[in-house]
């Protein structure tokens, strides 16, 4: 009995350790390599004791100014896509939550099915269309694209969150003289904030890291940071791994901090005490 329990605990520990190794080792490797002196990055055996240096970051700043332009483009596109996705998902989720009809119920299924199609299949044929509209190589095209991918998931998520807000609150607000939009803005949105943040996390992570569509639809004016990183690999004067790791770390840091911060909000439930106590 006792040994059985020890085995369970040990098994859990091994599983957690394996999971942590799997997910953290690559990140640790990238971050550590970005502050290792150049010749020690791929040294065999691996050097664990080294003098940390910021030379790669300085070099990145000097030689790859466009990477920082790329970060700004990434930030603009991520912010825009997130805002678009949140607005659309919240509005749609509200409608799905508060109304029901055969058409609405069927369209939920459709939303999920659409999500299963490989995005590139739908997107590539859009290329000539985007060109005609003069949206090629603009921030807008990526904002719209990224937002679109997440509106279906976002809508379903928001519906679930809004379903938990008692309908009586809508009705009380209606009696208080609020129209639909006011109810959405002043009652639903504040209470569905954890849901909105959850959707935001999905979109932000995706938009910040996305490569393929950025590669297809942008060239110079809206080039995102991941594109610049890929250029570093294909650089004609050979790959400078130190700079590459510094760039990767810089690219990774904000998103990591964002997700860690948001994680706390994802769990919070705001509706406590809304109705009967």
């Amino acid at each position: 009995m006792r040994s059985g329990r020890i085995l369970v605990v040990a098994g859990k520990a091994v599983a957690v350790a394996a999971l942590l190794t799997w997910s953290l080792v690559p990140i640790a490797f990238v971050v550590m390599s970005s502050v290792k002196p150049g010749q020690e990055i791929f040294a065999v055996p691996t050097v664990y004791a080294f003098e940390p240096t910021l030379e790669h970051y300085a070099e990145l700043w000097r030689r790859w100014g466009q990477f920082f332009d790329g970060l700004i483009d990434s930030a603009i596109i991520t912010a825009g896509a997130t805002a678009l996705a949140i607005i659309a998902s919240t509005c749609a989720g509200y409608v799905y939550s508060r109304n029901s009809s055969r058409f609405l119920n069927a369209s939920v299924m459709f939303l999920i099915v659409v999500r299963l199609i490989p995005p590139i299949v739908v997107t590539l044929p859009l290329f000539p269309l985007v060109n005609i509209m003069g949206l090629n190589d603009t921030h807008i095209v990526l904002m719209v694209l990224y937002a679109t991918f997440f509106v279906s998931l976002g809508t379903v998520l928001m519906r679930t969150f809004i379903d938990q807000i008692p309908r009586e609150l809508d009705e009380a607000a209606q009696i208080d003289g609020a129209g639909r939009l006011t109810i959405l803005r002043r009652v639903i949105v504040p209470l569905a904030a954890p849901g909105i943040l959850a959707v935001a996390v999905f979109v932000v992570v995706f938009a910040w890291n996305e490569f393929l569509f950025a590669f297809v639809f942008t060239a110079t004016k809206a080039k995102t940071a991941p594109l610049v990183i890929s250029e570093m690999i294909g650089s004609i004067d050979g790959v400078d791994w130190g700079i590459l790791f510094a760039a990767s770390t810089t690219q990774l840091a904000p998103i990591l901090i964002f997700v860690v911060l948001m994680n706390r909000y994802l769990v919070a439930g705001l509706t406590a005490g809304a109705t009967k106590g």
Partner: protein
């Protein structure tokens, strides 16, 4: 202030008719209680008045104006919900001022009105708290406060006390009665609790199956129920119903009897000799000892509940029915013993079987 008129009001959900043609007049300043068992349509009717449910057919007039298609905010009403429906992310003050803010009232006026309502409801200390930090009774007072600040001409209450415990319910009941006196506004109150209905109402509307069964003052309903449903619903413990046979009819009265009910003439019309009928006698109308009374019920004691001020005796009658007697003092009865309870025929009712 405003009166209401409901004319043949109907509500269908799909093919099912929930409200089957309600006609009702409510005068300005009246306290009207809709009462009935769950599913009788009382809440639906209230929500139709509020504008939260569409009216399928018929007309609703508030203060003389037809308002079938009006938005809730245009009807001059305020509503208190069973679940309180307070905005959990707003303070008590903001909950109460929400409607006024939407109405773009001047800040000073909002402040004054909320303070006034808080004073009436003794909420001054709690204005900065969130709903989650309040007790059930306090939340209910905030919900009422939110209604008061809007100075509506009609207050609608949807089972406002059913989430409170018994002691608090009594306090809040008195508070609502006091509020009605103080504000003088028309109030419509939905409940399934007949004690609330009897104590609060100027006028009770008994609903069952989407239809009005009877409208009247509480005592009128108690003393002269229009039908067996109302007779059984109003009064506690419930009225006894005993199957009887009409043996003779005279002008305005019918003589009835059964194996457990001795022949007695009660006020009734529309019956013929030989008809099956149902005799209704309130438990409080039964008195120990059949000899001195004009009507009597025989049976065996099956259960005795001694409450101190009153004794509830449950008896199995000779015809296999169950009857309750509420004796207004402490008394002892031996379970299984034979008893006869008498009643004044003037206090008995006869219904069609």
């Amino acid at each position: 202030m405003a009166g209401l008129r409901l004319e043949n009001l109907r509500k269908k959900f799909g093919a099912i008719e929930i409200i089957k043609g309600v006609d009702l007049d409510i005068s300005d300043g009246e306290f009207v209680v809709f009462v009935g068992p769950s599913g009788c349509g009382k809440s639906t009717l209230l929500r139709m008045i509020a504008g939260l449910e569409d009216i399928t057919a018929g007309d609703l007039f508030i203060d003389g104006a037809r308002c079938n298609e009006m938005e809730p905010r245009e009807r001059g009403i305020a509503m208190v919900f069973q679940s309180y429906a307070l905005y959990p992310h707003l303070s008590v003050f903001d909950n109460m001022s929400f409607g006024l803010t939407l109405d773009r009232r001047p800040k000073a006026e909002i402040e004054a009105r909320v303070r006034e309502a808080a004073r009436i409801l003794k909420l001054e200390e709690l204005l900065h708290r969130r709903p989650a930090q309040l007790s059930g009774g306090q939340r209910q007072r905030v919900a009422i406060g939110r209604a008061i600040v809007r100075k509506p001409s009609v207050f609608l209450f949807d089972e406002p006390l059913s989430n409170l415990d018994a002691a608090l319910r009594m306090d809040m009941r008195m508070e609502i009665a006091r509020l009605h006196k103080e504000l003088g506004a028309t109030m419509i109150y939905v409940t399934h609790d007949q004690v609330e209905a009897m104590t609060l109402a100027d006028k009770i509307v008994v609903l069952d199956g989407g239809k009005v069964q009877q409208v009247g003052a509480p005592i009128e309903l108690y003393k002269k129920p229009a039908n067996r449903f109302v007779a059984g619903f109003i009064g506690s413990p419930k009225m006894n119903f005993l199957d009887v046979t009409v043996t003779r009819v005279a002008d305005g009265s019918a003589q009835v009897e059964s194996p457990s009910v001795a022949p007695v003439a009660v006020q009734a019309s529309g019956f013929a000799a030989g008809d099956r009928a149902v005799l209704g006698v309130r438990p409080q109308a039964l008195r120990d000892g059949g000899a001195t009374a004009l009507g009597s019920i025989k049976g065996h004691v099956s259960l005795v509940e001694r409450l101190g001020h009153e004794t509830i005796v449950s008896l199995d009658t000779a015809s296999g029915e169950r009857a309750l007697a509420a004796i207004p003092q402490d008394a002892t009865y031996e379970p299984g013993s034979a008893v006869t309870f008498g009643f004044d025929p003037g206090a008995a009712h006869l219904f069609a079987a």
